[in-house]
Amino acid sequence: QKVSVEVLDHLEHLALVDFRDSEGVERLQKAIEFADQLHEVNTDGVEPMDSVLEDRCLYLREDDVTEGNCTKELLENAREKVEEYFVAPPGNIPLPKMDEQETFLKGS
């Protein structure tokens, strides 16, 4: 089945990346078809595998501060900053909904 426009819109909001054109949507469709092959495999009773190192204990170090104090270096790569702050435009303003947008999906 084709992916609904609602889901496409939802994906664009989640990913903060747009499909740009019909080719982008096609690409997703093909990716899903490709992934559907997974359902040919019988995985009854099989546990999902998170890591190939699952049989080992994760390394935990002592909770001591061993490095840091590199504010200056870290700020150097940011374009917009004020004193020791990264500056962002106002937040909590959701991207326009599909019918308010100019993006390609509006035409679907």
Binding site: L11, T43, V52, R56, L60, C70
Partner: protein
């Protein structure tokens, strides 16, 4: 001529005895990089710092106190490893101009041993791809395109036209590193391997490409693609050199909690003469659709080689092989969706000019900074991670991953020491042909033989084996048991000695560059 030999056996000796100095080596490599610029293997050349490192190395040799075999050795690093003070771009607009404040652990280790960092090599954008054709700095050209061996076999076209149209890809995504090693501009290079990204270009460029066991070498500072599969890769001209590099890079890193804590002891490879105790497995599923008859024959010949030398050669089965690439597709895009979320323009990298809201700034930044391949994977990944799809796709893929890993466990449990498979389906394709298909299709095709080793976290190595009918390199792959790199490399070294892969004979290249002839000197050191 000694410089074409191994690091341990020849180059190190030459440096110690003063027959060549680190600055000479560095200068020669830098000059060669300039004259092979048309390969587009390097994104950044760190001329000043490398010469300084070479001078410091020279001082140490003068005092008779070199830090080790790697002291003074010019190396190149794939541009997805952070290098302090040197631009790290991942061949993406997103990180153009990004100067890392720190060195990746593997880079730091190399520098601590006195290695000379020549520069950062080209790749597919964010290591997504199997051709090294999709980065913003353009595609990398396979040095073998300019070899006598390839030219002799090409259908003659008009001179310059032929060269321009016929050049072949390096494979990817560590194509720049492979090309750099193959064209003698460095003695070793770092790549990364998530689905075959070190072994694939190694096969196409006729060099050794080692993918170590997941957890052996630190990923700290390697810009992540798939955290559960990424490993730093090693590209060298011979198996012994790969062992040298491995020795200096492996081991627990407190900054990477996915590195194992076991003690790692660097090793020298023995010269195996008796293979009668070896059991080589030939997985029948690796006779994949699309495998060229040439490579099939070579694979068969290699199996016979082992058999005739007394080794036990058995056909084995890895039944879930054909699902490996599908499984990878889902897990990779899912992890990518997560990993690429860090690129929002706030702390580093490209930032869009949009100011209406954080969200619109993020969206525009990512739209402007990522290419289609990256954006496509992010969107697919997010799809598979949607609540309604999570069980169906992501968890399902994780279950299939376990089945794939178990296939290998079973085979190794049955007594097989090392698996022998092809690395690629064919020799390197001409660029014009390669770009006819899109990135995802290509990756799905090309990763088929290399991908499963990443799924299971196993060590694997490409050994250049022979030249194809077109005069291009073909390699074969050995896959070993977890953390048994010594055994894997010992077998690989024996095989390397048997096949005597020919050295590339780079020809003079005449290029028309805005009407001016540029003669490129032949690349052999003597």
């Amino acid at each position: 001529a000694a410089l074409k030999g191994g690091l341990r056996s020849q180059v190190s000796a030459a440096l110690k005895e003063g027959r060549v100095t680190p600055t000479e080596l560095c200068q020669r490599c830098l000059a060669l990089i300039k004259s092979t610029k048309f390969l587009n293997a390097y994104i950044t050349v760190a001329e000043e710092t490398s010469l300084k490192q070479a001078e410091e190395s020279e001082e140490r040799y003068k005092r008779g106190q070199p830090l080790g075999i790697l002291d003074g050795i010019p190396i190149a690093v794939k541009d997805n490893f952070n290098t302090a003070g040197i631009e790290t771009t991942c061949a993406s607009n997103m990180l153009k101009g990004y100067i890392s404040p720190y060195n990746a652990t593997v880079v730091q280790k190399l520098l601590d041993q006195g290695a000379v960092l020549l520069g950062k090599t080209n790749l597919d954008e964010f290591a997504m791809g199997s051709g090294s054709t999709d980065g913003v700095f353009g595609p990398v050209r396979n040095p073998w395109s300019y070899s006598r061996q390839y030219k002799e076999k090409s259908i003659p076209k008009s001179h310059s036209e032929g060269e321009e149209l016929n050049w072949v890809i390096t494979g990817g995504s560590s194509g720049g590193s492979a090309a750099a090693v193959s064209s003698f501009t460095c003695f070793a290079a770092l790549g990364s391997d998530t689905g075959g990204s070190t072994r694939n270009p190694a096969a196409h460029c006729g060099v050794v490409g080692l993918k170590p066991t997941y957890g052996l070498i630190s990923r700290h500072g390697l810009i992540p693609l798939v955290n559960s599969m990424d490993v730093p890769g090693i590209l060298t001209r011979c198996v012994d050199d790969a062992a040298v590099l491995l020795g200096s890079l492996a081991g627990h890193d407190p900054k990477d909690s996915t590195t194992i804590q076991d003690d790692f002891k660097p090793f020298e490879l023995p010269n195996l003469t008796d293979v009668s105790k070896l059991s080589i497995g030939i997985p029948k599923e690796y006779h994949a659709p699309g495998l060229s008859s040439e490579i099939l024959a070579l694979w068969s010949k290699a199996a016979d080689l082992f058999k005739n030398a007394g080794a036990k050669v058995v056909e084995v089965s890895l039944p879930h092989t054909r699902y490996s690439i599908v499984c990878y597709h889902v897990l990779c895009t899912a992890e990518v969706a997560s990993n690429m979320a860090r690129f929002d323009g706030l702390e580093y990298g490209h930032r869009s000019d949009r100011t209406e809201s954080t969200e619109s700034m993020y969206a525009a930044t990512r739209r402007e900074g990522f290419n289609d391949v990256v954006r496509g994977r992010i969107l697919s990944g997010n799809y598979f991670l949607l609540k309604q799809n999570y069980e169906k796709y992501f968890v399902k893929a994780q279950k299939v991953r376990r089945l794939i890993a178990n296939d290998f466990v079973e085979v190794f449990r049955s007594g097989v020491d090392v698996l022998l498979t092809p690395t690629t389906l064919s020799d390197a394709a001409p660029y014009t042909e390669f770009i006819q298909e899109d990135n995802r299709t290509r990756s799905a095709q090309d990763d088929i033989l290399t991908q499963a080793a990443n799924m299971a976290g196993l060590p694997a190595i490409n050994v250049p084996t022979a030249l194809s009918e077109r005069g291009l390199p073909v390699g074969l792959q050995f896959i070993g048991r977890s953390f048994q790199e010594k055994q894997l490399l010992t077998v690989a070294k024996w095989f390397e000695k048997q096949v005597q892969f020919p050295m590339i004979q780079l020809e003079e290249v005449k290029r028309h560059d805005s009407g001016v002839f540029q003669h490129q000197k032949s690349a052999s050191f003597s």
